[in-house]
């Protein structure tokens, strides 16, 4: 009881650190721009970024929600598809040799470069954006889950076989729960990649979203509006990452407690 309270305080301390660092950076940034008279087209001060946001908040928020939706849907597809693929790969020698080999091979390609292909195949619009985001997010999820499903202690499997456990029991009572920590670390990378994919998708197949706003603001050399979008993206990325982190703590208390030796 006391230990878990201590762990919580530690965590809160860290978020306090983050807030303080961000606050300090913002103040320094504002001061530096004012002291050195940096032109707004190079580096607008935080106050100007805030003013630009307040000038038309709903435009930003609407586009942010759009990007959030693309990211969320792509992430959900990646998790469901990724886990199914991983279970298949671990269960079937054939899928391991074909699908897994292919995935590993494609994974070493800088996949962002494939984004324009999707525009040719699927046209501009939401489906291309989703496809790009899924393509980026699914790899860490599949690969981590495969590793997790495989990393069962051989003696645990011996024990299961010695007690004549069914194949079903071995998968659902041993392998899958054993893979959850790896799945979650894949998901933490995956959620960030889904966001990157959504933005890249908006760059190449745009129309809406924060990525599209960045692109149009850049076209008008409106650096301040570029920064508004970037700040919103940063906030979104952080919140999404911590959402997965919190989900992990709730879903896998046994794992989080193991990671912190004193908790």
């Amino acid at each position: 009881m006391k230990n878990s309270l201590a762990a919580k305080l530690m965590r809160d301390n860290r978020s306090l650190d983050i807030v303080l660092v961000l606050l300090g950076t913002t103040i320094l940034w504002e001061l530096a721009v004012r002291i050195f008279h940096a032109p707004a087209i190079i580096l607008p001060p935080p106050s100007a970024i805030w003013a630009a946001f307040m000038h038309s908040p709903w435009v930003f928020i609407r586009n942010m929600l759009y990007t959030l939706m693309t990211t969320g849907i792509a992430f959900a597809i990646s998790v469901v598809l990724g886990v199914i693929m991983a279970v298949g790969i671990v269960q079937s020698k054939f899928l391991e040799r074909t699908l897994y080999t292919l995935l590993i091979a494609i994974n070493s390609v800088p996949k962002v470069a494939l984004a324009p292909l999707f525009v040719i195949w699927l046209g501009t619009g939401a489906s291309s954006q989703l496809a790009v985001a899924v393509m980026l997010a699914i790899f860490p999820i599949v690969i981590n889950t495969v590793l997790g499903l495989r990393s069962v202690d051989p003696d645990m499997l011996n024990l299961a076989k010695a007690t004549r456990a069914s194949k079903f029991d071995i998968i659902y009572k041993i392998r899958v729960p054993n893979a959850l920590p790896s799945l979650f670390s894949g998901m933490k990378v995956g959620i960030s990649f889904a966001l990157v994919g959504a933005i890249v998708g908006e760059f190449v197949a745009g129309g809406r979203g924060l990525g599209f706003l960045v692109l149009t603001a850049q076209g008008q050399f409106d650096t301040t509006r570029v920064f508004v979008s970037l700040v919103l993206l940063g906030i979104m990325g952080t919140i999404l990452f911590y959402a997965v982190d919190v989900a992990e703590r709730i879903a896998l208390p046994w794992h989080s407690s193991q990671r912190q030796p004193n908790a």
């Binding site: 011996n158 024990l159 299961a160 076989k161 010695a162 046994w254």
Partner: protein
């Protein structure tokens, strides 16, 4: 003390000229060669031998996890095909599942064997109490010490009341004091229940303390080099290890391994 144990007529487990060769990249590895061993029902058998002499392989063959490549094994007169009925296993690592409570870990045995969990709940709680884990039923493995975890894994092996208990260096990773405790608890459990136990260990004194008979194995290829009875009264207090009679048995094992060149005196 007879040199080789007398032939066993009422064998529960009979290992007949068993051999095991593993295929490997560097050619076949002979892990066991012509192993003959009869285990009486209700007997406590310790197996000692240098690292790599095939102790774990022998245990896996008896457990039906590995097939032997020559000879045969029978359990209660029936040839062994896969894991036999009524068997429990304990390994050096406790392999408890971190996401399950201690009680649920113990009940896993029933789930795997296809028995209804609820039927074994009371027995699981009794076993946990017997092994000093009362009050820890709803804790998770990572909240327990190594000794407590190994106790839980013994409870798991005992849950469905197996006739045969196979243990592969179960106390090898524990400190000396915890090990002593568990030796006493295991001996007590064995005396109360009369299970047949095959117990692999690296510790000579542990082997003698627990056993009715000690099997000594040697390397290159893995084989049995000596079997002898341990005629010490039961229940045995830990202090029995300081007696002369005990020392004679321990010395016999040590002497044997020294002769084989695996232990230097």
């Amino acid at each position: 003390m007879n040199m080789m144990a007398s032939p066993v007529t009422d064998a529960y487990l009979r290992i007949n000229g068993a051999g095991k060769t593993y295929p490997s990249k560097h050619g076949p590895v002979v892990a066991l060669s012509d192993v003959n061993l009869d285990v009486r029902p209700g007997e406590f058998l310790s197996v000692v031998g240098p690292s790599g002499c095939g102790k774990s392989t022998l245990l896996k063959c008896v457990a039906g996890l590995e097939g032997i490549t020559s000879g045969n094994i029978t359990v209660s007169g029936k040839p062994l095909m896969g894991p036999p009925d009524g068997m429990g296993v304990v390994f050096q690592r406790d392999v408890l599942l971190d996401w399950r409570t201690i009680l649920d870990n113990v009940l896993l045995q029933a789930e795997f064997l296809g028995h209804p969990r609820e039927q074994y709940r009371d027995r699981a709680l009794q076993l946990l109490e017997r092994f000093g884990l009362k009050g820890y039923e709803n804790r998770h493995p990572w909240e327990l010490s190594g000794g407590m975890r190994q106790r839980a894994s013994i409870c798991r092996a005992l849950l469905c009341d197996p006739e045969l208990l196979l243990m592969d260096e179960p106390f090898g990773a524990l400190d000396a004091m915890t090990r002593d405790d568990l030796n006493v608890e295991l001996a007590r459990m064995w005396q109360e229940t009369g299970k047949t136990v095959i117990f692999i260990t690296h510790s000579i004194s542990e082997a003698v303390f627990l056993a009715d008979r000690v099997v000594m194995m040697s390397r290159g290829p893995g084989r049995i080099v000596d079997i002898f009875d341990v005629d010490l009264p039961r229940p045995r207090p830990l202090a029995i290890r300081e007696t002369d009679a005990f020392g004679v048995y321990a010395q016999r094992i040590r002497h044997h391994f020294a002769e084989l060149g695996v232990l230097h005196e």
